[in-house]
């Protein structure tokens, strides 16, 4: 079975630095995750996540600052308002809701970053490739 393809949106100020911290500490985690740096997790719109799936991602991970620690003060409030609804919408469409994960990682939490990557990769590995279910079938 093909390796899962995971795209992760990391906010510049917390989770991306957290990834750096994991790297500096030479922590091991699976290589399936490709990172896209965004200014804030609140920038990650539902359209962006859906398009990421459309382009072939099996899983999408959005990591932001902890609530209260956002560099833009309330940017991650946008994340917390929009993305939970998208997770629900995936469920209502018959797409596994665990394909989209939202979590919070600070710049110092290298270990936590590695753990989340490991966990999420295994979650997605257990699921079929996203494009497999996205085929038109006619009887």
């Amino acid at each position: 079975m093909a390796e899962p393809k995971i795209i992760s949106f990391l906010c510049n100020w917390c989770s991306y630095r957290g990834a750096d911290t994991a790297g500096l500490a030479r922590l091991q985690y699976p290589p399936n995750v490709k990172i896209i740096r965004v200014p804030c997790s609140g920038r990650v719109s539902p359209e962006l996540v859906l398009r990421t799936f459309r382009e072939g991602a099996d899983g999408v991970l959005v990591l932001g600052c902890h609530i209260g620690d956002c560099h833009y003060s309330t940017g991650n409030h946008r994340t917390a308002k929009r993305l939970p609804i998208l997770i629900k919408l995936l469920e209502y469409t018959g797409i596994e809701p665990q394909r989209l994960r939202v979590d919070w990682v600070s710049a110092a939490e290298g270990q936590r970053f590695a753990t989340i990557i490991r966990e999420f990769t295994e979650t997605i590995r257990a699921l079929p490739p996203f494009t497999e279910a996205m085929q038109w079938t006619r009887d």
């Binding site: 359209e47 309330t74 308002k81 609804i85 998208l86 919408l89 469409t93 018959g94 596994e96």
Partner: protein, 274 residues
Amino acid sequence: MDARLTALRQAMTQILPDVAGVIGLKCGPAGSNAPHLFQKERPEELADLALWPKYPVPDTLRLLQKAHPEAKLAIICRGCEERGLVEMAKHTQVNLDNVTMIGLACTPEEATFCRCARPYTVQAQITVGERTAGVPDPVTDDFAAKGQEEKLAFWKEQFLHCIKCYGCRNICPQCFCNVCTLEDEKWVSTGWLPMPLPPMYHLVRAMHMTAKCVACRECEETCPAGIPMAIHYRLIARDVQEMFDYETGASLAEKPPQLLVLAEGEFERTGLPH
């Protein structure tokens, strides 16, 4: 003869001298009806007042106000239409200061047709018709009970017939954006039928209907393929109620949750790690 028509005509006759017009539905040729601006210059038109099938009149008000912002107007609106006006007012698309709402209560048959939980107005200054209780929504409930693969198979079967007419967006009383995401090629590709999966148009639309859908069911009614897309919007509305304690169109004072920062307890209710 529907008693509401008589009561409406009375209310309109009283108010017509004071306003530039009353927005309501008028009978047309061949049994049709459509939104119309009844005006005092043509009182004979009141004889052609119609009630059903309904049309989303909030957009008519928005159109009129864009062209004549100072005009005093009245509008006959059902529960869903009042909710639509309230939400539009919150998004500064209509100004309710110069508007008199004539609330029209729906009959039990009309409520069942729309699977409506609140088939009556709550803010309208004048009300016509007897309030009837809200009815359950078995279509949405039955869908919610399906398993994951069943749900996906259901939507694949439905969206196979979508012809991208954009009718659901055009008729929606809440869709007023000048620049619509659904017309942006970055997100919704054009030129393919059936549309490539995942169904970007419908998923993006459902997300944009968060805290906006007023449950008027016009989208389902206008869909030439009979797709029950309101199921998505109504399920999301239930989550909005649960997570953000917000009921679309219920109160002018309540701001939509996406425009505010997280309130007390909301973060815990989103289901995100906390």
